[in-house]
Symmetry: D2
């Protein structure tokens, strides 16, 4: 391979399903598209099932495998631990990795509970490693550009943040009781899985949420037992049923510290919406609208546009003015879902190489978890709940 | 005039601004487009300012005028009292009209308070007149068609009702303190003015709301004094300011009696959204989406569509299968805002002619008001509030 | 009726089907919405079938009827002759009306042939009457606003005009051989019926077409005999078939006198497109896009918008800056198909009252017909054809 | 690297700009996403400028470089020659590669002229190598799915094919005279660069074009000298100007062998349209619409949908029923421009591994070139021209 010396960063990843694939692909693409300081090396992949982890490693280009994640963390040739396993495993793994001095990235939500999340945060603080939580949607160039508009005061004081995250993949009552539907493994349902993404977008774009009131619903209360089978598909057993212990849908109203009013909804029962992660922000000087299913487009309205010519502009965020996207293709040549992971992991590697802490960090993860906890408390107490402001 | 005998119904209308214009126009168009049993006669228009009411009457085609609404109600040649004045006047006028044996239609919201609304309902019940409250948006053919799909069980069990009613006409802090911003005249702000429409659509399409939790915001708390100046425009005084006593925005979460989860938002601070009255309903078998700014279109998703060909259909509801619209133009030739009033008032006149009570009636108005009251109570108490189920 | 004296203009209309209804309705609405100088009076309606014409007159509010259009033209109490009959009758009627000194408006296309159209033009020239041809689509406020942008040089030099007019109402081979499918009655098919509208929009917005090359297709060559039955519906006979003698579809390339390149297509065989009359214009400084099925919206792109914020703005042309629409409802409250006729006939009446000749005039009709003729000649000769520039 | 033995295919690529990047990336992604029979090895990259080619090779992961493409072709360790250089070089390179027994893929258009294209075709025929021309857009899953619908007779007899390919990257008169604007290097302008893509989509989806009539325009006739600078950007010299010798825009009407009517337009002067490659097909039983800027979406209308529920369905072609896309992410998680190259090159490698010839082949390239030539001839002769039907 023709090449110059760059800082190589050795990655060890735990897990290899849907998110494992997204992360692996992103690591491979970073040096191709970006002039990064660091070059990721797909050093080792860990998973309990030896034949499956080997097959995944071959397919995705990992150099070696481990069947015990603790062994992976012990390896001296590993710089980074990337955790893409179900939610209930994040805390133990991340804390162990931090104590071993590894930089850490985990899938979202950070943990099962706020308590766990804080423990994870204390571990990374103590061990001074670089850390991120994988809220990838804020890395869509259109979202990044919205952030820039807000930072440049192009929207003025923010009045409204409005986010619906609509999916429909478990609407069929015969969809099985996979780990995502068990509270002890996933913490919550639509709330932590997709609502957490909307919360991250809200925090990224508008700021901290001070208090909220919410409700959670489980429309289908029993399901056949079964397992995830790649992506968001699953295979169901025939005769055995179990209880769904998480929410199918959640909605909450929120007040932001800066006075904005937020409305949030996350559901897996919105037929026809495969991955409709959408938001609208209304400010004094302008509004923006975005939707992940058409992720390259940002609708922007500017209040001081010339009368008669006022309307939302549909901007295809594939121009050089739009964050990240300049490294790809000419304007109008769109990118996709996987690119959000490229951008996130690029920032992670840059952070390690330049010894600066990128966002969203474990601190963001903790604060996100504080919102998740407040929603659960409010759904229980049927009252407004103050969100713990963690520093 | 060439003509056959039809039942003539003499209308007396109180008020002649925005809604007065919409109603007057609709009466004129009904016999042109519909083969109605009844023919409305624009008999008399009432308003306090003699020169203005005369000018309005001439422009809109009313035969005579009155400067005292009580005199209008006393007139024996009047069959119907149509009330399009600000909200705080509805109750007194409607009760007087009922006692005079007139059929009554009032603009929404029915009244300032639930108590007033109930008094109005008792009056029409006692006097056995035909009555309607003017929730015109349910008369968009696309909404009527959505109703038919739901009644035909094409959506199955309803999981979600989601409505945002977004406007921006008072965002400018120099927009004056018109009657719509004074609690003593309008009862509430965005809540009663536009949120009431979303509530009506929810009740029409999904059913009664059993409980809710909500919040109300006033972003701009002081404004220059001033008056409405036609439509939603206004003229401001220079130096005098007063306090805004109603909500600029409101949001609430709701549970329907049938188990559906509702999310509602109504705001006049959503820049770029002139009259974005939109809703989405997700059911077990399908979903519908609608938006008043493109009111002829209904997006419909059917869960049992052939795999590979699943997606929202954008239906231009201008076909003969779509309610009301067959009387107008060929498919694809759209209708507008004013037609919703034509349909509503057509049903009102048909109700009078056929001695059957149409919807939305004063009973709908009372139930709507009960939801409005619950929202205000919840915003005050910061808790879930049960909606009074009025029969 | 309360009222002040205005100039009354007595209308006599020949025909009462689809266009008759559109015109009748528009006359009724003009004084309601506009402060016009003139007030139209629906004086007399002419049609051969006495019972049908009487029924139509009653329904639409005409004062009297005639069964012989010549008698209508002779009536002294008639100021205007409005011709909404099939195309082959326009010339004879219009010439007779002109000679009787009546102001004239005819449906489009002006005539069956360019020769006929010129004869009509000479007649109105000689008799100094006010004249219009009913190209209603240019009266959509969004189109009028596009015109203003072009006149204000907001698009700069025009490079491209692109128009597709797509319908599907005759795709079913069992749709009968109505008058619109017979060359001797309609002159041409998609070309004169809908292509003529695109040509009018092109001439209005960009200017004269100097030369063109085109082709015409008839996909279904035989159809059952039958008649129009209101709007664009029809009833077919069972056993008798006849030959379709007009085009089902037409397409042509055009060069404008100002150097712009035009592409045109008109078809009744574009399934799913009920009345998709759309256009895009690309100029040096900006572009506009419009589509009659969403007629209130105009997409505008301005080349000198700030980098990063460049994209088509979707403008809901219901603001006071947009032509005509200020007389109706507040911004975001849309209007429909029928309003294009209100605006056109308002201009016609204003022209009569103020003795000024409005557009589109018979001269526009002749020039439009010259383009239609050139398309037919080119389809025949399979070569570029120069369009006769009639003055 | 963990791994099983697969057939390795050694790639040698000539050129490394925009298309070189797209191809390189695709080769890298194929084994990651697909279970392909073959594994591409990025063996050698050729370019005249040693430092630039070395830098590109390092960045994109090529094992070695050559500064003379003839030397690349001579190398025994190369199985495939991938040609991504400007159009005027394709023929010589491809013929040399064929004679050396290499499998070949070239960027489109295949050649400068039909004569060249035929020579290339004869060379690959004689040497029995696998060959493709890189019309990537037909590999969008939505386009592939449209193809399947047509093959399954879901659209019935095709009446209309309508394609506009709109760009705006050279509208600024100061954009320099790059190779794409010189006839001797590129053959033609918008015609061969983007119109060729629309022609490929037409041939893929509808069939062969039998005859056509067209016109070509050059709006800006002189430009400053300059070079491409990555993607579609360029740098201009200050003082030197040269003549643009290709078309800025082209439009043509076409008749397909199966009787369908085609309309085509390709332009680089359509402001606001960055890469608006769009098409609509109308058939007896249904219609499809597609647009590369929203490439995952396919609008489908089916004539026999239930009355009242008829409308275009917007299908997000990210489901397992949609070609290729099942290997990526769950439904609703979109892919981008670069994936079209992954699919095309996957088919190329599969063809080599399985000794079967994929499409689009050089034969497709020749037939495409025959259409390009006919357009140029027609623009010259101003008459309809028959397209040579090459077998």
């Amino acid at each position: 391979m023709v090449g110059l010396a760059k800082q190589e960063i050795n990655i060890g990843m735990i897990g290899y399903q849907f998110m494992g694939k997204a992360h692996s692909h992103a690591y491979r693409d970073i040096p191709f598209f970006f002039d990064s300081e660091a070059k990721p090396v797909l050093k080792a992949l860990a998973g309990r099932n030896e034949s499956k982890v080997n097959k995944a490693a071959e397919k995705m280009g990992w150099e070696s495998t481990e069947t015990d994640w603790r062994r992976l963390i012990e390896r001296e040739d590993i710089d980074v631990i990337d955790i893409v396993t179900p939610n209930h495993t994040h805390a133990e793994m991340a804390i162990a990795a931090a104590e071993a001095g590894k930089h850490i990235i985990t899938e979202k939500p950070l943990a099962l509970t706020l308590e766990e999340a804080k423990a994870m945060y204390r571990a990374i603080q103590k061990n001074k490693v670089v850390h991120m939580v994988c809220h990838n949607y804020r890395f869509a160039p259109a979202v990044q550009y919205a952030k820039r508009l807000i930072e440049d005061d192009r929207l003025g004081r923010i009045y409204h943040f409005r986010a619906d995250y609509l999916q429909d993949f478990i609407m069929d009552p015969s969809f099985p009781l996979v780990w995502r539907l068990k509270k002890e493994v996933s913490g919550s349902g639509a709330l932590g899985d997709i609502g957490a993404h909307s919360i991250d977008l809200a925090r990224f774009l508008v700021g901290e949420i001070s208090e909220l009131v919410g409700t959670m619903e489980t429309f289908v209360k029993k399901r056949p037992l079964g397992e995830m089978a790649g992506g968001l598909n699953a295979e169901a057993a025939k005769d055995q049923y179990g209880e769904v212990t998480v929410d199918d849908a959640v909605a909450f109203l929120a007040k932001f510290s800066n006075g904005a009013l937020g409305t949030f909804e996350a559901t897996r029962f919105a037929g026809g919406n495969r991955n409709k992660n959408k938001l609208e922000i209304n400010g004094e000087k302008g509004s923006v609208r975005w939707d992940m299913e058409n992720m390259n487009l940002l609708d922007v309205y500017l209040t001081d546009d010339e009368p008669g010519l006022q309307g939302f502009r549909t901007i295809n965020c594939t121009e050089e003015e739009h964050p990240y996207v300049g490294v790809y293709w000419p304007p109008g040549h769109i990118i996709g879902y996987e690119h959000t992971f490229i951008h996130l992991l690029y920032e992670f590697l840059q952070g390690i190489a330049k010894e600066s802490q990128p966002s969203p960090s474990f601190l963001d993860g903790v604060r996100n978890q504080a919102v998740l906890q407040a929603v659960e408390q409010s759904a229980e107490s049927r009252r407004w709940v103050k969100v713990e402001q963690f520093d």
